[in-house]
Amino acid sequence: MTTTTTSYKVIGSRPLRPDGVDKVTGRAIYGADVRLPGMLYGKVLRSPHAHARIVSIDASAALTLRGVRAVITAQDLPAIGDKIADLGESVVNLRYASNNILAHDKVLYHGHAVAAVAADNVHIAEEALALIKVEYEVLPHVLDGKQAMSANAPILLDDLRTNELGKLGNAPTNVAEHIRHQRGDLDKGFAEADVIVERTFHTATVHQGYIEPQNATALWNEDDQVFVWCSTQGAFSVQEQLAELLQIPISRITVTPTEIGGGFGGKINVYLDPLAALLSRKAGHRPVKMTMTRAEVLTSTGPTSGSHIRVKMGARRDGTITAAQAELIYEAGAYPGSPVGAGCGVIFANYRLENLQIDGYDVVVNRPKASAYRAPGGTNAAFASETVVDELAEKLGIDPIEFRLRNAVREGDRRPDGPEYKRIGLIETLEAARSHPHYTAPLTGKHRGRGVAAGYWGNWGGKSSATATVNSDGTVNLIEGSTDIGGSRASIAMQLAETLGLPYEDIRPQVVGTASVGYNDVTGGSRTTFGTGWAVYEVGKKILAEMRQRAAEYWDVPVESVQVADGVFAHNGDQMSFRELAGKLDTPVTASASVHPQNYGPGFGVHIVDVEVDVETGKVEILRYTAAQDVGKAIHPSYVEGQLQGGAAQGIGWALNEEYVYDDKGRLVNASLLDYRMPTALDLPMIDTVLVEAPNPGHPYGVRGVGEVPIVPPAAAVANAIYRAAGVRMTELPMSPARIVAALATQSTNAA
């Protein structure tokens, strides 16, 4: 479906990606592929305990092993006091960030880094780890957010006090923050309701699951310059984090981003980079390369929060929602900083509500520190609210899409946190879903059901810089600093080509490091095609202006008399193509632009799914899936579809099987891709997409963030489909076979 009116030459086409051939021939250099002369290999010693005091660390035996070049512990990190810093996408206390890199006095989760080794090869480094003696005093641990809030829970951080947006409590606690959105009169709203549904939900800790493990290669020179090559969503964020954690000036750090094998928010925070740098310095300024094993990725990087959510909503017989209340408890992991704020923003964002209250709690537990994961906190929240909405619709006998349409937000309605929405596309997206053949197709067969759910994500703009140079043959080299994680080189180059009126093939984009381009925020928050696209639009305008000036000089006419259209300069019947003019330049033409655009605007998705439930084993088969979304203008539709399909697939993983499983000692027991079960090709059908193209008026090419919205609705959509197929309301993620069998058994007991 396309509703766009502007006609473009390049935008909206589907050219091959510029980095494609390197990636299909195995030539592309990812982080683990970096090789430097004299390179050493580093490994990390990690805590076997969920919560323990470090009594002593003795690395003397490891240092005597042949081939071992350096060992570091937290003593090697500069001491950092409490300092709140804005790193990349999240705000952190640097002391906590430093403690997460290498545990200082306490380990707070199974897998917490304690020491690191550099050696001649990985095998020797591993042998050395076994020789480091760490004495622990094991402490009681707490894994669950609700339990961590209770009065007798073990306290993780002695100095932590609850923060209510500036108001600090005075008692030791595991609750880092309590936030609230509120408007209207809740009691009055519920009193007006004909139907009220209230349920409590639980969602598991889940991991981003990128296929490429974390890695970093670092060289700390004799003159205290630090060079880092790594897979990251943001080279500049790595640079800033290193500057803070290592206490060295930003200008002394050069970060070169390699190709990146997936991130989904998980490759923003640094883990190995500072260790590799410190090891390099200690090992006589030799480069040190570190890569995580898959088990380390799962135990020791940041997954997203598990959560407990209570939702209560009421509606009148006519289908109007009269009141909505929610309480969200998100597990931050070992240090404060869960995405509960975003969860609170998402949970009722789809609906116009006069009476609402949302309370969010950020709670520390003995799990790895949560980091961003695609629409952080959104899937948890939507799972809860969108299944309650489904139940309201069912109880009122209203079609679930119709029910949502009656309550859907539109321009001028208020978000739960107050501000008004500008131009948004929820209504159009709901209508597109309702009129899709999938929604009206008959679904027959036993234990089959169809579910729908909607989802919101706020998106982000961020800061972007880019530079372009015009070559003498009229082609253009584009230098950008946004890691290309899913085809953005193409969508960025396409926007420059469109601006310049040149063919896509004439633009050669390159992603470079911190030394070679202006500042760029991370590739995250669904911002890259929007924000960096805007930067190259500005670059393109500057280049055209400069080239127009050169044309005027060439013809010796006033610049105002030169017309520019479709890459051709014209004056009084004379014409010169961009290429011809480029060949006549005696001074080079280069342009840079830096932008920080704000009008990114939120996106909405509506997903439809058909499932079949094997009621004897509890296994759920996804039969058919359709994802509709207001995507703004789709620059490269194939990669926009890919975002919707990939987001849906991840959400299905959350829905059915993905979860962190701990033993009674607080150790993660399923730290492998065998037992942390992400969907395979055999677990999914083709995923239909509907691109609702309502151009974003806040962007020169109508771009709206796309990547995160599609992971918000799937868990709820699948839950609603399971209900229709098997008659049970699932309130816990994942909706694994055992849980479904248990729910069916409870249901039949209740019925009997």
């Binding site: 980095d19 051939v21 990128y210």
Partner: protein, 156 residues
Amino acid sequence: MKSKVIVATTINGEELEFLCEPRQSLLEVLRDVLGLTGAKEGCNNGNCGACNVLLDGVLVNSCLVLGVEAEGRTVETVEGMASGGQLHPLQQKFLEHAALQCGICTPGFLLAAKSLLDHNPDPTEAEVRHWLAGNLCRCTGYDKIVRAVLDAADTV
């Protein structure tokens, strides 16, 4: 104890010898000894398929093969798929269908798909999905990968 052994093998059609420790996997040898970094390490225990190679024409996880086992055998990696300046049809179709986002799983998928088409030149969607189930992709949702393989099968 001598720690390293000489292994004579054929990689991407080229006969060569390399030196490795018995404990080094074929994946380590390819990447660290021979500089063929197209095979990727995603899990190092056979659960993701990113390190897929063909060993005597059979699809294997190179992380689950010892380098010394390559003695006298033939190994085919993603670096050997294109020939004579021409991409393999699968490589071409993966590009045309946008069947990769981050690209880290792509070499493994390409070799798995090649192995499938070697056995079954005209697979159904279900057969493609079954054959590729040992390869994890976290970006695409598999839709475009499956389409690319089906399209390549029509081309081959």
